[in-house]
């Protein structure tokens, strides 16, 4: 039985009186791809941001690699984040820097940074991995949506995280680029054993990437299973996602 690397218990979060998360419980095992699906505005991104400590929940328990976020000092949270990558919905590339500088930014600021030469080599390798080495000198404004996501994925991978949180990795992309991103997600696990929580409402992405799917409905999460199991669910609203 593989160990749990992320555990969330009884998580509650509301914004200006509007309940967004109501008693969420999830656990992510090592080398597992967990998909969270739900309607837009159902709190999926809030859940991901809470896991990484970008949003402070109203109540509940979050543990990452066996460490409770509540017990950690800010510096310890920052250190822990290096083990957890996050792919933002729009990529979140730094628009004042070119692709190379975007990738060099986190590398140069590690406690024991690599040499200039090693950083350059690592960047080239990461860009090769996502098939965008030719864009090394481009600015983010010159990149398409799909390219931005792949560069953002390269920037996430460059710190060699053990788990990646993907926020809508294929939303707004054409089918070909979506497939490339999905293949990269699968490759990450196959080659590096990286676990993932993938928040999406792209059922094609969920079907190909997920070992397990959780359904978030009005801030609650009470349906869990594989793609095929949920597709055959006796609940109409669950089946509606798969039809």
């Amino acid at each position: 039985m593989k160990e749990d690397i992320i555990v969330v218990k009884d998580l509650y979060k509301s914004f200006k009186g509007k309940k967004v998360l109501e008693g969420i419980n999830i656990n992510l095992k090592k080398e597992e791809n967990l998909c969270i699906i739900g309607k837009s505005g159902s709190g999926k991104s809030v859940l991901l941001r809470s896991i990484i400590g970008l949003i402070e929940p109203d109540s509940g328990y979050i543990s990452v690699f066996g460490k409770s976020l509540d017990d950690l000092h800010e510096n310890e949270v920052i250190a822990l984040r290096k083990k957890v990558g996050y792919l933002f919905q729009e990529g979140a590339l730094y628009d004042s820097m070119n692709v190379e500088e975007n990738l060099a930014f986190p590398l140069k600021r590690q406690p024991h940074p690599k040499s200039h030469k090693e950083i350059k080599a690592t960047i080239r390798l990461a860009l090769q991995r996502v098939g965008l080495l030719s864009s090394i000198n481009k600015m983010p404004q010159e990149l398409s949506g799909g390219m931005k996501k792949r560069i953002a994925l390269a920037r996430t991978l460059i710190l060699e995280p053990e788990v990646i949180l993907y926020d809508e990795p294929t939303t707004g992309l054409d089918p070909v680029t979506s497939k490339e991103i999905i293949e990269l997600i699968l490759e990450m696990r196959a080659t590096n054993g990286i676990s993932a929580i993938i928040v999406t409402h792209d059922m094609y992405c969920a079907r190909l990437t997920a070992d397990r799917i959780l359904l978030l409905n009005e801030g609650k999460m009470d349906v869990e299973g594989s793609f095929e199991e949920l597709k055959r669910s006796d609940k109409d609203w669950v089946r509606a996602f798969f039809e």
């Binding site: 990484i52 290096k82 919905q89 729009e90 979140a92 930014f105 986190p106 590690q110 953002a152 710190l159």
Partner: protein, 271 residues
């Protein structure tokens, strides 16, 4: 009718209380936000590359606007003073009056307002757009403290740059004034400089420089604060840029008033 009036008064009171509450809450948040600067500015890693980039961006790129405005202010002041001073036969005092005005008051305040408009709005919009496009969160996730990288560097850059801009602006105003004096009259550079600095003392210069440090710090800190608070997409970015300019301009006037009082007190009691 009476009930309506009571309701109206109640609503007005509630609104006033809410507005006061918002004001004090924002002030408290700004204080907490600013206090982080003093905690982080001393601790490594020092983002020197970013600091020099910001000094170039915030300082050097404001030079054209500061040059134009300062020159024109000095020029116009002298031209406007000339007829009145001539009536009393005191044209020779124009350089000194302009020098005192631009060094003690107009130089720092004008440069502060120009920087609040140009660099303050720029910082507010830049950090605001980084906030709404998740770039600040992305920094945080990659193990970098975005406050240290974005706020500390900009605030430090602006605080360092501002005194130089103020000195430069005062110098340019005197050049403008000298040109204007020579349009209406004939005066050598040596005579102009002698006349300008004849009644100037050490305590005329020092408060300006101290004010400039505070203005620089205020403009950058307030702009970073509003940029960091930006929300709701492009509308939020616009609001952040706007608030950066309005609030930092107001604080500049408030600090200037405070500095004038302190300077007055110092001169009366210690000089």
């Amino acid at each position: 009718m009476k009930k309506d009036k009571e309701q109206l008064e109640e609503t007005t009171t509630e609104k006033s209380e809410k507005s006061n509450g918002n004001f004090f809450r924002t002030l408290g948040e700004l204080t907490v936000f600013s206090s982080r600067f003093f905690a982080l500015v001393w601790s490594p890693p020092y983002e020197l590359d970013e600091l020099f980039t910001q000094i170039f961006r915030l300082g050097y790129k404001s030079l054209f606007l500061v040059t134009t405005t300062a020159f024109i202010i000095g020029f116009v002041m002298s031209l406007q003073l000339y007829p009145s001073m001539k009536t009393f036969g005191a044209e020779d005092l124009i350089p000194n009056m302009v020098a005192i005005a631009v060094i003690r008051e107009i130089g720092p305040v004008l440069t502060g307002l120009i920087c609040a408009g140009k660099t303050g709005s720029g910082i507010g919009a830049e950090i605001g757009s980084m906030k709404v496009t998740d770039q600040i969160d992305a920094m945080s996730i990659s193990g970098v403290d975005p406050y240290k990288y974005l706020v500390v560097t900009r605030v430090l850059a602006m605080t360092i740059t501002m005194p130089f801009l103020v000195i430069y602006s005062a110098g340019l105003s005197l050049v403008g004034s000298y040109v204007a004096v020579n349009i209406t009259d004939d005066m050598s550079v040596t005579m102009y400089i002698n006349s300008a600095f004849d009644y100037m003392y050490f305590y005329d210069f020092v408060p300006s420089i101290i004010k400039a440090f505070f203005f620089g710090f205020t403009i950058a800190m307030v702009s970073c604060f509003y940029g960091y608070r930006a929300d709701y997409g492009t509308v939020g970015v616009g609001k952040a840029a706007n608030a950066s300019v309005v609030i930092s301009s107001l604080i500049i006037f408030f600090l200037d008033m405070l500095a004038a009082q302190l300077s007055h007190y110092y001169q009366n009691n210690f000089v």
